[in-house]
């Protein structure tokens, strides 16, 4: 079997779940006949028909609101925001309605909102954001962010089967860049962290596309003269956050660098840093360091965008400094 791209893995996951459970349906802008802006849902309408692959108006509040109603009524909607940036229009339905439904009325809202996130391709300020922190801050929502094809498929399965509303962050930059052989039979990926690369001297905590930048940096550091042994922890799930995995890694390495592609303030990495400071203080052999995108809109200009986003080289530079500390 040919290696499956991250994008194909998401499509495969949708297809498998739709075959497995007829309550599962997808809705979004151009997801049907056009197959989705990025072709994630390509071909689904042919197999499952327009009732389960529903094209919607350009109205995110309506998409999410409809999904909330369908989920309460017993279906398992998977909505696609064409770009994660546009979820702001559906924010109220997701944060206030879906997120608090169980708390207010005891009703489960098993819906998934797929958010194509991230920059790195000159998408500019409206098409490059990483809005995970908005949803991490809202009780009642789960937030997952796969970095590999296998986890993209597995976490999508977990998200669809979860009784809670789940925000599924899929990184556009990874869509066609990462690929791997997938097992024939999909199994759900637990919403826990994964050691993407084991090491003893330093832990880099990352998720999404930054896992790959961190792995590249870790390789470079291992090839340095002193051959540092760098661990890369792929969070996979931001809510719930796998605190024990983070603490276990930090207890082993005693140094931690947290990487976010999101804007720095109140980002997922800030939560990780706070956790480490709070619960692993006596295991630290250096300051908790963070790398994130500065608090600016993502620039169109390729060199400016490159300067703004964390990269393997900026991660390696910060890691070297921390290793030398």
């Amino acid at each position: 079997m040919a290696p499956t791209t991250y994008l194909q893995a998401i499509g495969a996951g949708l297809r498998e779940e739709m075959r497995r459970d007829e309550r599962v349906f997808v809705m979004g802008e151009d997801v049907g006949a056009f197959g989705g802006a990025f072709k994630v849902t390509d071909g689904l309408v042919d197999e499952f028909g327009p009732a389960r692959v529903r094209d919607t108006p350009i109205a995110e509040a309506a998409i999410v609101g409809t999904a909330v109603g369908a989920a309460i009524a017993g279906l398992r909607p998977v909505c696609e925001m064409q770009f994660a940036d546009f979820v702001a229009c559906g924010f109220d339905q997701l944060v206030n309605v879906a997120g608090k439904m169980h708390y207010r009325l005891g009703l489960a809202v098993p819906l998934v909102v797929r958010l194509p996130v991230g920059g790195g391709f000159s998408g500019g300020p409206f098409h490059s954001q990483n809005p995970e922190a908005w949803f991490m801050h809202a009780p009642g929502l789960k937030v997952v962010a796969p970095s590999t094809p296998a986890d993209a498929r597995g976490l999508l399965l977990s998200a669809i089967r979860d009784p809670n509303p789940v925000v599924f962050l899929e990184h556009k930059h990874l869509y066609r860049r990462v690929k791997e052989e997938l097992p024939e039979v999909a199994s759900p990926t637990p919403m826990t962290a994964r050691i993407a690369r084991a090491g003893d001297d330093l832990t880099i905590v990352a998720y999404g596309a930054m896992v790959h930048a961190a792995l590249e940096a870790a390789e470079a550091l291992g090839a340095d003269g002193d051959g540092a042994s760098v661990e890369v922890l792929d969070l996979r799930s931001l809510v719930p956050l796998d605190e024990e995995a983070i603490l276990a890694s930090v207890r082993k390495t005693s140094k931690v660098l947290v990487v976010d592609e999101a804007n720095a303030t109140c980002a997922a990495g800030a939560q990780v840093a706070a956790l480490v400071a709070d619960r692993a203080f006596e295991d630290l052999d250096g300051p908790v360091r963070r790398i994130a995108t500065p608090d600016i809109p993502i620039p169109f200009s390729p060199p400016l965008e490159q300067a703004a986003l964390p990269s393997a080289s900026t991660i390696a530079e910060a890691a070297r400094e921390l290793l030398d500390y």
Partner: protein, 406 residues
């Protein structure tokens, strides 16, 4: 001349580790300094080139005296340099205290940085971080350094501060030293070491000024022995705790005598004599010993003894004692006549604990002979300050406390 402690006002340069023109790194040893209390190395307060040595070896100068000048690299361009006619800039090397206790670390904070994990590991393994070479930024001791240190050096066996029996197997004969020059009779004349000279001066001064007497009491250490085993301690911390308690009722012994002025203390600053082997003897002080449990005293004694043997005491560690305990019993002696560490007025000598037959009396006044771990508690005391009855009363009170311990 660095500030080395509250009552140290001068120091003597005993060696320069760098010569004029040598490069010196921040915190690299610049010179060695001796005071009446300890010898210590002075780390350089700046990186640069040693431009001038202002105090020669053997000279004694006041604390704060400039002893050398260091030409700082790139000093001309350093904006922090005060404007002046002289370029390149010069840093005055009033070097900071030993052990990095007040060493500049580049960010203006005092002391080398210790990370939380290193602090914790040092506490868990009872490590002295000054013993561990640091490879981190600015010589910081990293977790890796601690791990490497632990890997390399299994914790040295603590030298016993106490022994059950005076009998010891003979030491292995020392390796023959290269033969030094001999005089006509085959003797080998050598200058006394500085520490021996210092000890000699202090002991002679005590003999010349105090009216030293000695009083001995025998003490049954059965309960102390049991308790120390329970606590995993040597006998010394338990005896120290008992001495501190007993001194509460004998204020005239927790005192210093200077001419016609006697100063008594409620707080007990307990000197503990530590043998440095052939290198002499030093008496580090546990300040405010009354605040410590036997376990706390044990920890402090171990720490002071280790630092004493590693040559890492700072002057404050060895001054201000109000009462001293000496403990040569570990080496088998059963009685001695210790010299008072003047201006203190008394010294307690804890001799070897030896199992001996003793007559014991039970509650019904029946007498029998039993085998008991016995020790001689010898008090050296200054007849100018107290009389023999007081000394005997103190020792008896101490004995009762020790025999009741448990």
């Amino acid at each position: 001349m660095p500030h080395m402690g509250t009552s140290v006002v001068e120091g003597t340069i005993i060696g320069w580790s760098k010569q004029v023109g040598d490069h010196v790194d921040l915190d690299e040893t610049l010179c060695e300094v001796t005071t009446d209390k300890v010898d210590t190395e002075c780390p350089s307060p700046a990186a640069g080139v040693l431009a001038e040595i202002l105090v020669d070896v053997g000279e004694t100068v006041d604390v704060g005296t400039v002893v050398a000048r260091i030409e700082v690299e790139g000093g001309v361009a350093t904006p922090a340099t005060p404007a002046g006619p002289v370029a390149p800039a010069r840093a005055e090397a009033a070097a900071p205290a030993s052990n990095g206790a007040a060493a500049a670390n580049g960010n203006g904070a005092a002391g080398p940085r210790v990370s939380p994990v290193v602090a914790r590991m040092a506490a868990v393994h009872d490590l002295d971080l000054a013993q561990i070479p640091g490879t981190g930024r600015g010589g910081r001791v990293t977790k890796k350094d601690v791990l490497a240190f632990l890997d390399r050096a299994p914790e040295p066996e603590e030298r016993p501060l106490h022994s059950e029996s005076p009998y010891r197997p003979d030491d292995a004969p020392p390796a023959p030293a290269p033969s030094p020059p001999r005089d006509d009779l085959g003797g080998v004349p050598q200058p006394l070491s500085r520490i021996r000279q210092a000890i000699g001066r202090a002991m002679l001064a005590s003999q010349l000024t105090t009216a030293t007497c000695h009083t001995v009491v025998e003490c049954d250490m059965s309960r102390v022995e049991n308790r120390r085993r329970d606590l995993g301690l040597t006998a010394l911390p338990l005896v120290s705790a008992a001495v501190v308690e007993t001194l509460r009722g004998f204020g005239q012994l927790n005192a210093t005598l200077d001419g016609t002025t006697i100063t008594t203390y409620e707080r007990v600053h307990l000197g503990i004599a530590v043998s440095l082997g052939d290198d002499g003897l030093i008496v580090p002080v546990i300040h405010d010993a009354q605040d410590l449990s036997p376990q706390g005293l044990g920890t402090r004694i171990k720490d002071l003894a280790r630092r004493a043997r590693a040559g890492q005491l700072v002057p404050d560690d060895v001054q201000g004692a109000t009462f001293t305990i000496t403990n040569p019993g570990a080496f088998g002696a059963t009685i001695a006549t210790p010299i008072i560490n003047a201006p203190q007025v008394a010294i307690l000598d804890l001799e070897a604990i030896i199992r001996r037959p003793v007559v014991i009396t039970d509650d019904d006044n029946n007498e029998s002979i039993a085998i008991r771990p016995m020790v001689n508690l010898v008090l050296g005391w200054d007849h100018r300050a107290i009389d023999g009855v007081y000394a005997a009363q103190f020792l008896t009170a101490l004995r009762r406390r020790l025999e009741a311990a448990g």
